[in-house]
Amino acid sequence: MEITTRGLWTLVHGMGFGALYLLACSGALVELWRRYAPTDLSPITEREEAFLRWYLLAMALLAWIAVLTGTYIIYPWYRAIPQAGTVNLGGYPQRLLLSNPATSGWHSIGMEWKEHVAWLVPISITMAFAVFNHHRRNLRNHPELRAAVLSFMLISFLAAGIAGFFGAMLNKHAPVEGGEKIQLMQGESR
């Protein structure tokens, strides 16, 4: 069972940072909706407040690491240009997708949207963290701030979902592969 270094980076970017962000997003939305509603009269403890602060900070870090690894490590491999006369486009995912009308849309719509829309996610979650870090439990007294944070997070969840969906589909049709091979496990031989 082997994986290439490029394949490993893509896995860490998508399944590690991206998917973890999506999972975390639903939790933060529920917590902000439920515990910080102006109608909830039960006091918010310092422990609960600290938990959400660290949770949002972790989400912001995940989002930043996801877009930075995607843009500056994986994307250059994806858009690499082959030398003239190259027949096997396996190491050039963008060119491989564009070489076939049946797959070109995965680049011209999928990647073109993904590479930009993903950047809305760290912007919105950093804002959410900053607003929560400033107001903390007092966010309950500012329902309009809470509504804005929830709305931005909900749309960022959608943006992360779009990026994640296209990332998975792109990797299915033209995986980013190459570099050294890493042996993960020894398989059984028959």
């Binding site: 310092e46 843009t71 858009r79 949207w113 829309v117 950047w119 607003v131 007092n138 931005f152």
Partner: protein
């Protein structure tokens, strides 16, 4: 006593201004819109595409995102300094920020971006 230290709502907590939050929210909406506009501009104009090529392996995406992030941070700092001690009409700011954010999301979609 810090406004963060009480378990229940205090008068100090209620009096806390919303200016810092408003600055962060509006700046985030603006940044999303700027990112989408720069992405369209870099796609349509060869000059802007070349200008946005900050890091060759990543291409114009590097300049588009870096410029949008810089615009976001600058606007956030300016608004924070102007609004931090003020209470602002959040309904209007929320509407503007959300409209910019949704426009950012839609304008990054290639079939919509190609209309321009």
């Amino acid at each position: 006593m810090s406004s963060h230290s009480a378990g229940a709502t205090t008068p100090a907590a209620k009096a806390m201004t919303n200016g810092s939050g408003a600055a962060a929210i509006l700046a985030a909406g603006f940044a999303s819109f700027v990112l989408a506009v720069l992405a369209i501009a870099a796609d349509k104009s060869t000059t802007i595409k070349t200008l946005m090529n900050f890091y060759r392996p990543t291409g114009p995406l590097s300049g588009v995102t870096t410029s949008a992030i810089l615009a976001w941070i600058i606007l956030w700092i300016v608004l924070e300094r102007s609004w931090r001690n003020r209470s602002l009409p959040m309904t209007r700011i929320n509407r503007i920020a959300l409209a910019l954010f949704v426009l950012g999301l839609l304008l990054t979609c290639p079939p919509i971006a190609d209309l321009f």
